[in-house]
């Protein structure tokens, strides 16, 4: 992307000129207004989403106040609802995903920008983009029928025999579990983190690298000192962006996490996330308070993902703002 040859000229041309009077002028004004309204739709949509969820959650908010966030009960029979297991499940599954995805993604981005032979770059990039295009329901389906049985038969016994003394590997395993959800989430966010990281790394000035090479550094030392040091903030932004996606991911998680309204501190136990629990319960909900509680789960999820995404965008936009451009 080159920034210099577009904005200034078009802005100057349009700002400076007052073309024609009458009909043409009217057409110009109308067109600008129409496009402006369409552009503003993004603000309107964010507002509508927040408003609708807030209105829908009102009954639950009035009934439970802040207890909703710290209670672990999910009891439709007595109409008592709490979000805690889902909040923790969301955080834990995303954390597992990040632990797996971050090193792999950043290493891959480094490989693509710093090390890979030229002929391999384009095909690899295309593969990663295609991985991002796999619908989440298909990945979840694959997870349910391939990954979960594989973990159940081959991985869990191995983990148990080697790390059995650590509490997070305790408990009966039924197949669908937190770890499976974390792995599927990792697969889903790896392409995002990798491609955003690649953009960030590409914007590291070539001079940075040349300077380090000139001092006699090996390629890895150049990467570590000159490239990673320079790109730290942007890479952090890429990771947070991936986190935002992981927190809100629904279908794939619903299919492999086991959908139990509980959180057990074990990787092998089923659990739920905010998103997967909404997907799982919404069509079965009866009664206003039940619906309202699900809306409130949605509100909590929206709040968390908005904050995380705002942080990610701020990190990325302040890193790769105007003025920074690719050097190759």
């Amino acid at each position: 992307m080159t920034t210099e040859n577009r904005k200034p000229e078009s802005a100057a041309a349009t700002g400076g000129l007052k073309p024609g009077a009458g009909a043409a002028h009217l057409g110009d004004r109308a067109f600008e207004w129409i496009t402006l309204i369409m552009a503003l739709s993004v603000f309107i949509l964010i507002f509508v989403i927040g408003y609708e969820l807030a209105v829908g959650s009102m009954p639950a908010i009035h009934k439970f106040h802040w207890h909703f966030l710290v209670s672990s009960d999910w009891d439709p029979v007595n109409d008592i609802y709490g979000a805690l297991p889902f909040v923790i499940g969301t955080v834990v599954s995303s954390a597992i995903a990040l632990v797996i995805a971050v090193p792999i993604s950043i290493a891959t981005a480094l490989y693509l920008t710093e090390m890979a032979p030229a002929w391999l770059r384009q095909p690899l990039i295309m593969f990663i983009e295609l991985l991002a295009a796999i619908p989440s329901v298909i990945l979840g389906f694959w997870g349910l029928f391939v990954l979960v049985p594989w973990l159940h038969i081959h991985c869990f016994p191995l983990f148990r025999s080697v790390f059995g003394f650590i509490p997070i590997f305790h408990g009966q395993d039924y197949g669908p579990c937190m770890l499976a959800a974390g792995i599927i989430l990792a697969i889903m966010i790896i392409p995002i983190i990798t491609s955003v990281s690649r953009e960030i790394l590409r914007s590291v000035p070539g001079l940075q690298r040349e300077a380090a090479f000139a001092l006699g550094a090996t390629r890895w030392e150049v990467t570590r000192i000159a490239v990673l040091g320079y790109a730290k903030k942007g890479l952090f932004g890429a990771v947070i962006l991936g986190l935002g996606r992981a927190l809100g991911e629904t279908m794939a998680v619903t299919m492999v996490i086991g959908n139990a309204p509980q959180f057990v501190p074990s990787l092998f136990q089923p659990g739920s996330t905010l998103a997967s629990w909404i997907a799982n319960q919404f069509t079965e909900a009866v009664g206003d308070l039940f619906y309202s509680a699900l809306f409130e789960l949605g509100l909590v999820l929206l709040g968390v993902t908005l904050l995380v995404n705002i942080l990610a965008q701020l990190l990325l936009k302040t890193f790769a703002g105007p003025g920074v451009k690719p050097q190759h």
Binding site: R6, K7, E9, S10, A13, T14, P19, G20, G27, D28, F31, E32, T35, M38, A39, L40, V42, F43, I46, V48, I49, L53, I104, T108, Y111, L124, M126, A133, I134, P135, S136, V137, I138, G140, F141, W142, F145, I190, R202, T218, R219, E221, L241, R245, L247, E249, T250, M251, M255, A275, I278, A279, F282, T283, G298, L302, T305, V308, Q313, P326
Partner: protein, 283 residues
């Protein structure tokens, strides 16, 4: 200062490069594995009936997903009617009008909107359309997918419009053509291929969306006779079959997943080859 151990540094260099290569291979593995399993399990169940027949009741052999395939295309069509005009016009504003600061905020909001979880969209449109209309409908499904398309289309439209050289605009304005006609007839037309690409990619993305459809389009084992009825969609059907306990339905789900994946990948790869020159200029 000690002289650094040269061999050790060289070894570390090679080691890290191999590690990075291994990671790159690991990243590609899931795509290969998913594709492999879908072909092995799903290919055998794809036949003419799959594309032309309705689902059969549990226990009966055969049947297909014709309703879901048609449903997905109907939903995408409706979504495009909502998402494309708003997205493209908004993208035009971002590229051609507005101040730098103001547009920064719009872009920021679009990127944030892009990060809103898909299940949240489903819940919101449930409240906005399904409750007032007293039931799930194809219309609600189309609208939710269309709204999700807006930020995607807006950002790609803006990006390709900005690739159009400023000279084109100046030349047109200098000839006395009004600004809006300059934009529509020259700028947008020059970038049309890129805009279409963006729209197609957005369509491919929403074609696989399931979560927002769960409570809006809802799914349907038969045909939907109007847009006010619940409608089937491929991702929904795959999900419902996958979590069912029946082997026959699992087979259908494998076949459906393979067809859906091929559709999505076909659009993605096709678009890349069509617009190779445009997006590969100067990496």
């Amino acid at each position: 200062m000690n002289a650094p151990n040269h061999n050790w540094r060289k070894f570390k260099n090679v080691f890290m490069e191999i590690l990075a290569l291994v990671c790159a291979i690991l990243v590609v593995m899931p795509l290969v594995l998913v594709f492999y399993h879908l072909i092995v399990e799903g290919f055998g169940s794809i036949n003419l009936a799959f594309f032309t027949q309705l689902p059969k009741a549990v226990g009966e052999k055969g049947g297909g997903m014709a309703n879901a395939i048609v449903g997905t295309f109907i939903l995408i069509g409706q979504a495009a009617l909502v998402g494309v005009p708003i997205g493209v016009l908004g993208g035009i504003y971002l590229s051609e009008y507005g101040g730098t600061k103001f547009n920064w905020w719009i872009r920021f909001a679009a990127d944030i909107l892009n990060g809103v979880p898909s299940i949240t969209w489903g819940v919101v449109v449930y409240g906005l359309m399904v409750v007032p209309m007293h039931g799930s409908s194809a219309l609600a499904g189309g609208v939710v997918l269309g709204l999700m398309m807006i930020p995607l289309v807006m950002r790609t439209t803006e990006e390709v419009l900005q690739l159009v050289p400023g000279g084109y605009r100046e030349a047109a304005l200098a000839l006395g053509i009004s600004q809006w006609r300059t934009i529509v007839q020259i700028v947008v037309r020059t970038a049309l291929k890129g805009i279409v690409t963006g729209v197609l990619l957005a369509m491919a993305r929403i074609a696989g969306e399931t979560a927002p459809l769960l409570f809006t389009a809802f799914g349907n084992l038969g045909w939907a006779h109007s847009l006010r009825e619940p409608i089937a969609a491929m991702p929904l059907q795959i999900f419902n079959y996958a979590i069912s306990p029946y082997d026959d339905w699992h087979r259908q789900a494998w076949a459906g997943a393979l067809v859906l994946l091929l559709l999505v990948l076909f659009i993605n790869i096709g678009v890349r080859f069509l617009t190779r020159d445009r997006f590969q200029q100067k990496t």
